[in-house]
């Protein structure tokens, strides 16, 4: 069977790791696929007997077996614990993935999200039975509005990109209300934007018009002025931007876009750099999503669930989607679930219910823990940590915008210093894996060659940053010494070696199929 094939690979500098008979290697246990382990008649859940009542299915009972396999509880626990040990995590070590904000996830937040009085609530319970849940949402909304200086917040978007969609749909609706829905179709997006920005604009029926950056990595104001006109719906701008810089001209950008009759969407993915230092509302922003899973530390969970509440200016607030909360005269909170009941003109609905309540609890728990003082300190520490990394590494790795002013919460390098030695960004990233680090973000933003975007966050102690910088410098030395193979064959110490991504895309195999059980058994 495949899972018994022993693993090759080298440990350290050339000494081959011993092959094992079992396929396991010390603490790293071999892991089969679920379907190679379980069986149709095993189960990890006990149920009472059924009563044998005549069914009410009208003849539509399932005919074929589902094909599932089951595991007893001990087998299931082992299966998933073994899988878990093949993952890197912020709880394990430094995870400087730029733009993703991998900071500590406090466990108090997990405990709070699991309080039965918050988790065991149905979204369609009568309002009188969920006043505490509404109050919690209102409290979180209050914190978000106070911090951002905006007028309203749509709580229902389920992730950052979903928040972008919410903000851009609000802009679309505002333009329709002005009678300019058909004439203002162009959205200006900098080339350095997250890929979600142009994808979101397109999903709202807008045409994306890209503008370049200046040499120093900021919006080219001259190019922006040329782009403005009566067909412009707005701009989608990330600030701090994806080069790690604060957009110095942001107020002028906001003024220009407003004078031209458009709206300012700010991608809030990097909001964690400025919390408590400056309010996006004071910069002229009309809409901004807030990634609760980045700035307010709800766990990333291996790729979601996120949450993307979207703050809106007074100009856009009337178009916020349903459902939203209102406070009645008697002080009770209630949910506006239908456009006809709303005071404004909602653009529609983002999802079935009220948003990511589980994430709201975690985020509020985090914000209350930090308080106004701690949140500001966290932003400052994130910026300090990034500038420290920049200072420690800029002599050895080219930082294309180091002369453009301090970075915010992430430091951007390119691959020019290692390219001279026949290496590129991915090689350095894979070598970092062998050193016990999660790599930085690779090849993003697209505006620099071989980008390496390092975001240390406020979670890291100075000693950890120094260790990481020392490792990066040692790897730079090693690259300079001509030891290409050390990089090209990395990772050698991870659970698997470099994976064939091209092959995976050429002949996609997206599921296990029963016939493979026989094939593997025969091998």
């Amino acid at each position: 069977m495949t899972q018994l094939r022993s693993t090759r690979g080298e440990a350290g500098d050339g000494a081959p790791a011993p092959k094992t008979v079992s396929g396991s290697r010390g603490l790293l246990q071999a892991a089969s696929l679920l379907f190679e382990t379980g069986s149709a008649d095993r189960s990890g859940v006990d149920f009472p007997e059924a009563q044998g009542l005549p069914d009410r299915l009208g003849g539509l009972r399932r005919k074929a077996p589902v094909g599932l396999v089951g595991l007893s509880e001990p087998e299931a626990v082992r299966h998933y614990v073994r899988l878990s040990q093949r993952n890197y995590a912020i709880d394990l070590g430094f995870f400087p993935l730029g733009s993703c904000t991998m900071k500590h996830n406090p466990r108090l937040n997990e405990r709070m999200a699991r309080l039965p009085g918050l988790s065991d609530l149905h979204p369609l319970q009568p309002a009188s039975t969920v006043q505490g849940a509404f109050e919690l949402m209102a409290e979180l909304a209050h914190w978000l509005l106070e911090l951002t200086g905006l007028d309203a917040v749509a709580m229902s978007p389920k992730a950052g990109a979903h928040g972008e969609l919410c903000g851009m749909l609000a802009i679309r609706q505002a333009l329709i209300a002005r009678g300019e829905g058909e004439t203002r179709k162009r959205v200006i997006v900098p080339a350095s934007a997250h890929g979600t920005n142009p994808a979101t604009a397109a999903a709202c029926g807008f045409v994306v018009d890209e503008i370049g950056a200046t040499e120093e990595g900021r919006v080219n104001m001259e190019a922006l002025r040329e782009k403005l006109g009566p067909d412009v719906a707005g701009i989608m701008l990330t600030n701090p931007n994806t080069c790690g810089l604060f957009e110095r001209d942001i107020k002028e950008i906001a003024d220009l876009i407003h004078e031209a009759g458009g709206y300012f969407y700010c991608d809030g993915a990097n909001y964690n750099a400025i919390v408590g230092r400056v309010r996006p509302g004071d910069l002229g922003v009309d809409a901004m999503h807030i990634n609760l899973h980045k700035t307010f530390s709800t766990p990333h969970g291996g790729g979601g669930p996120g949450a993307g509440p979207t703050v809106l200016s007074a100009a856009l607030a009337p178009y916020a989607p349903i459902p939203h909360l209102v406070r009645r005269d008697d002080g009770a909170l209630d949910l506006i679930e239908h456009a006809a009941e709303a005071a404004g003109q909602p653009f529609g609905r983002m999802c079935a219910f009220h948003g990511q309540m589980g994430m709201f609890v975690r985020a509020l728990s985090y914000m209350m823990s930090h308080g106004a003082d701690g949140l500001r300190q966290a932003a400052e520490d994130a910026v300090l940590n990034a500038n420290y990394i920049l200072a420690r590494l800029k002599e050895r790795f080219n930082a294309p915008f180091a002369a453009s002013g301090p970075c915010m919460h992430e430091a951007l390098f390119d691959d020019s210093s290692i390219r001279a030695h026949g290496l590129e960004t991915i090689d350095l990233a894979k070598a970092l894996i062998d050193e016990g680090y999660h790599p930085f973000t690779t090849y993003f933003p697209l505006v620099v060659h071989g980008a390496m975007l390092i975001e240390p966050t406020d979670t890291e102690p100075k000693a950890e940053l120094d260790r990481f910088a020392d490792v990066m410098i040692a790897l730079a030395d090693r690259a300079a010494s001509g030891d290409q193979s050390h990089f090209k064959t990395a990772p050698r110490l991870a659970p698997v070696r470099r994976l064939d991504e091209t092959g995976a895309a050429r002949k996609p195999k997206l599921r296990w199929r029963p016939e493979e059980a026989f094939k593997h058994a025969a091998e």
């Binding site: 995590a89 912020i90 142009p198 994808a199 291996g302 990772p491 991504e501 997206l510």
Partner: protein, 451 residues
């Protein structure tokens, strides 16, 4: 501050190394006129104990589902989730990791997603599934957009049994793209009527089974009618446990099966986070939204898993992407796949059967009340009742009896003229005592009205 490791000495040393006089020097590019001089007007830091007390006070203001006789469904269902599920998803390596962009150190997440995709495909009877969507409703909207890409048509037809919130979510997304949406009027047993609304520009019809009224439908005639006119069929579900007992959408030949997976592995959570299940046929995978895990081999020929077909996705394709989605519902899909692995074939079937029997018993008990009529002809664990009184008022009155007795249909769609219709769901968590309490409370509430 307990989450911040830097000391004042660290900060001073680091600023010195950077060559900055103070932290303010690092914010020089922020316009000074916009910089806050002091703290925002919010409370200061609190201890764990203080935060815990405050949030527990909010929790205590709510009526927790488990402390009532609970019969609410309509898109979210209260099931028992085994203790091991919640324990396993809280392992650091699952909870505190990111999207598996570096596959060599994310095989745990990737293999779990591959197994999840396999289980979703099996359950829905489809060929392939993605790594999940935000929830069922957003998945439904994405399915409509996908159908438009495949057929190069721009019309969408919604059945009268589609959950009204799913219909609104889909309408919001489609109309922004200039797609036309036609909706059949709300109807308890008329999924097949969507056939009449199909025209030459219809990209897809969206039907639901079990639908929002609980009705199960044989989708074969709808599939034949739609395909004959060049339209695709999107089949929606909100209760995925049903497919342990009833024919799955794939058995009828639908093109896309999409729905809510919350029932397996996930708590009610007041509406989120949930997990959207999205499955289709192999020929459409390159038009599919969302993330996909695929099997491959490493440099030693060993089996491994990666995210694949990312050329569909926004970080590569930008404005030409199939969707703007860049997350799935990772941890919720993990909970789903763990719970499903624990259930297995035998467990899922038994769970589904118990749900069905509980619903049969509940329907029998409630229709014994004077003037209460069962409207749903064929159902799994959810059904609609006609009451001799406004359903919203009945639901409010039932609260006083310790019963959360379903959802008035008028709450989902006030315009339908179905103010006397109550949607009731029953699951394996309902006891005979719950059913008896619901029955007596309903009788009391209805009687009180007559008195």
């Amino acid at each position: 501050m307990r989450y911040l490791p830097l000391t004042s000495e660290d900060r001073a040393a680091m600023l010195a190394r950077i060559g900055a006089g103070s932290i303010d020097d690092l914010y020089v590019d922020v316009p000074s006129s916009a910089q806050l001089s002091g703290l925002v007007d919010l409370p200061l830091r609190q201890t764990e104990l203080q935060v815990e007390r405050a949030l527990k006070d909010l929790a205590a203001m709510n009526t927790q589902a488990g402390e009532t006789a609970f019969f609410i469904g309509a898109g979210a269902y209260r099931h028992h989730v085994p203790a091991s599920v919640d324990h396993l998803i809280q392992r650091s390596e699952f909870l505190t990791t990111y999207t598996p962009y570096q596959p060599e150190i994310a095989q745990g997440t990737l293999q779990a997603l591959f197994e999840f995709q396999t289980q979703v495909a099996m359950l829905t009877g489809m060929e392939v599934a993605n790594a999940s969507m935000y929830d069922g409703s957003t998945g439904c909207a994405e399915a409509a957009v996908m159908a438009a890409r495949i057929t190069k048509r721009s019309g969408v037809v919604l059945s009268g049994g589609l959950h009204p919130h799913y219909a609104e979510t889909t309408r919001t997304v489609c109309e922004a793209l200039g797609m036309g949406v036609k909706a059949a009027p709300a109807a308890i047993d008329a999924e097949a009527a969507v056939g009449e609304l199909i025209d030459a520009d219809t990209a897809c019809v969206i039907v639901q089974s079990p639908n929002v009224f609980g009705t199960i439908t044989d989708l074969s005639p709808i599939v034949r009618a739609a395909h004959a006119k060049g339209a695709l069929v999107v089949s929606v579900f909100t209760e995925c446990v049903a497919f342990g007992l009833i024919e799955p959408p794939g058995a009828y030949g639908v093109d896309i099966a999409v729905g809510e997976g919350q029932s397996i592995g996930n708590a009610l959570n007041f509406g989120g986070p949930y997990v959207g299940l999205f499955a289709t046929q192999e020929k459409y995978i390159r038009q599919m939204p969302g993330r996909l895990a695929g099997e491959t081999t490493d440099a030693d020929g060993k089996r491994g898993f990666v995210l694949t077909l990312s050329t569909r996705e926004q970080h590569i394709r930008r404005e030409k992407a199939t969707s703007n989605i860049c997350t799935n519902s990772g941890l919720c899909s993990l909970a789903w796949t763990i719970h499903m692995s624990l259930l297995g074939e035998a467990g899922l079937k038994q769970l589904a059967l118990l749900n069905h029997e509980t619903a049969i018993k509940t329907a029998a008990a409630l229709t014994a009340a004077p003037g209460v009529e069962l409207l749903t002809p064929r159902f799994f664990n959810e059904f609609a009742l006609r009451l001799p009184k406004n359903a919203a008022e009945v639901v409010d009155d039932l609260v006083d009896h310790g019963v959360l007795g379903g959802v008035p249909f008028s709450r989902l769609n006030p315009q339908a003229g179905l103010d006397d219709v109550l949607l009731v769901a029953a699951t394996e968590t309902n006891t005979d005592d719950d059913i008896a309490l619901f029955k007596s409370a309903l009788e009391a509430v209805l009687e009180g009205d007559q008195a």
